[in-house]
């Protein structure tokens, strides 16, 4: 039994399977969608999810929804491209979850220890839009196609400033290793050293994960469910979960490179990295709550407005954030 526990606590198993990997990601997925619905309902003076475990405000509504997705028949329309229709959601979900493997759960507690972990994470994040567009094409539906095209437009908008703002922090800390970046924030958090990059990155999290006010690719009131219109059953669960997983990964990354990761936890509490992991998780959760809270308070931008914001405002701001990082380095660095 102890051997099994020791094995599970090995970082190369713990990180992909427990935290920040599969188990935590799955629980977050269930919790965050419920919270999104509940918060939006509270703001709009409704009850929101209520009847599934009424004493806790319908807290396990998503488990009921998951069971429904699991047991509902996944309908595969006659005219779709079957291969892409079935496999693209699976790959999309897997690729959205994959970047968690390079995230550290605590000091020195990493599954893949690399001097370029930030670059690996960003590289893996760029792969998922390909499959969103493939499944949009494979669905053979005009709403899906329009949704896929909108996703394509948004990719061109958010990818460059996302990379620039993340890399501006790499310039600031002088490393591409996420663990080393957290260690560099021991005294001052990245958000205070380069607030410009922090703001740009936060907005780009909203764009890249299709959250309000940039929920443009899925836009329920315009194009049904965008690229995912034809999906039902467990396939719908997968494609819907993919964007929330991406939000989870980017929120944890935000917590690590801008919010000090496991700091201000004193060093004697950092090992074993249990509390450090919780600290990172709580910070990530705050970012996720900010992202889902936007649903309740903002309307949706049009696609041209989003692209304009991306190219006219976020790209110049991201470039400026690199210069700000260089200035901080010039003045003495971290």
């Amino acid at each position: 039994m102890m051997d099994l526990l020791d094995l599970i606590l090995q970082p190369w198993i713990f990180i992909p399977l427990i935290f920040p990997g599969l188990t935590t990601a799955f629980l977050v997925l269930l919790g965050i969608i419920w919270a999104e619905r509940k918060i939006a309902a509270k703001v709009q003076m409704r009850y929101g999810p209520l009847y599934v475990l009424k004493p806790l405000g319908g807290a396990i509504q998503m488990i009921a929804d998951l069971l429904r997705y699991l047991f509902a028949e996944p309908i595969i329309p006659k005219d779709v491209d079957k291969l892409t229709f079935i496999f693209a959601p699976l790959i999309l979900f897997g690729l959205s979850y994959l970047p968690t493997i390079v995230l550290p759960a605590g000091p020195g507690f990493t599954a893949i220890s690399s001097e370029m972990s930030l670059l690996i994470l960003l590289g893996l994040l760029t792969l998922s839009p390909v499959f969103t567009m493939i499944l949009a094409w494979g669905s053979n539906n005009k709403f899906s196609l329009i949704g896929g095209l909108r996703e394509g437009y948004l990719v061109t908008t958010y990818e460059i400033p996302l990379f620039l703002s993340a890399l501006s922090m790499a310039v600031l800390y002088g490393t591409l290793d996420i663990t080393a970046m957290v260690e560099a924030q021991k005294n001052v958090w990245g958000i205070f050293l380069n607030p410009l990059a922090a703001i740009v990155f936060l907005v780009l999290i909203l764009i890249s994960t299709s959250k309000f006010p940039f929920e443009i690719a899925e836009a329920e009131s315009e194009i049904v469910m965008g690229p995912f219109t034809e999906y039902s059953g467990i396939f719908y669960g997968l494609v819907m979960g993919a964007s929330y997983l991406k939000l989870y990964v980017l929120s944890l990354l935000y917590a690590l490179i801008f919010l000090g990761g496991w700091y201000p936890l004193p060093s004697f509490l950092q090992n074993p990295p249990f509390l450090a992991g919780i600290m990172v998780f709580v910070k990530g959760l705050v970012i996720m709550f900010i992202a889902i809270f936007m649903r309740a308070i903002y309307p949706r931008y049009r696609i041209d407005q989003a692209i304009q914001i991306g190219w006219h405002k976020l790209v110049p701001l991201a470039i400026l954030s690199i210069f700000l990082s260089l200035l901080v380095v010039y003045l003495g660095g971290v």
Binding site: S114, L119, V130, M133, I134, L145, L149, G152, V155, E159
Partner: protein
């Protein structure tokens, strides 16, 4: 190398898997009649190439290959193809032509790299070394590359502005 040695060597296994993925994807890119599928196989080709580059000791180049040739290029190809609504099918004649080009290119690459057979990379190049090399030794080439990129950017802006005026 015996089969048992091969099974116990993750690097050799990864190399074989990546090579298989790369070759199959390369043929599928040419042979598949649907351009959307061809673009998908192009992305798999990029992934295979990135794995091979990592195994050879160049993870920085592998990552940029992944970001540029899969994340950006395939996204743009798919974006353009999907926008056409009816994805064009490739004619059989063109596919034969592409296959002949692939065969000729393979022969050329075999000829070029035949001198390196059996040699393995024994070092790891870190991104800091590459940056130092670029900034200190190849700074002029870097500036030229930057100017070339800025020129492309200006061209793109000019084209976009023209479209608005017309």
């Amino acid at each position: 190398m015996s089969v048992s040695e091969l099974l116990g060597n993750p690097v050799a296994l990864s190399f074989i898997a990546a090579t298989f993925l790369t070759l199959v994807s390369a043929v599928a890119v040419i042979w598949h009649k649907s351009i959307v599928y061809a673009a998908f196989f192009l992305s798999m080709l990029g992934v295979g190439n990135a794995i091979l580059m990592t195994l050879l000791g160049y993870p920085v180049i592998a990552l940029f290959h992944l970001v540029v040739y899969v994340g950006a290029a395939v996204t743009f190809i798919l974006f353009s193809v999907v926008m056409l609504r009816e994805a064009p099918m490739v004619e059989l004649k063109e596919r034969y032509l592409a296959l002949i080009a692939l065969a000729l290119l393979s022969i050329l690459l075999l000829y070029v790299f035949s001198g390196y057979v059996g040699m393995t990379s024994s070092y790891y190049v870190s991104y800091k070394e590459i940056t130092a090399l670029l900034v200190e030794k190849y700074w002029f080439a870097l500036i030229i590359a930057a100017i070339a990129l800025v020129t492309t950017l200006i061209e793109a802006i000019t084209l976009a502005r023209k479209e608005v005026v017309s």
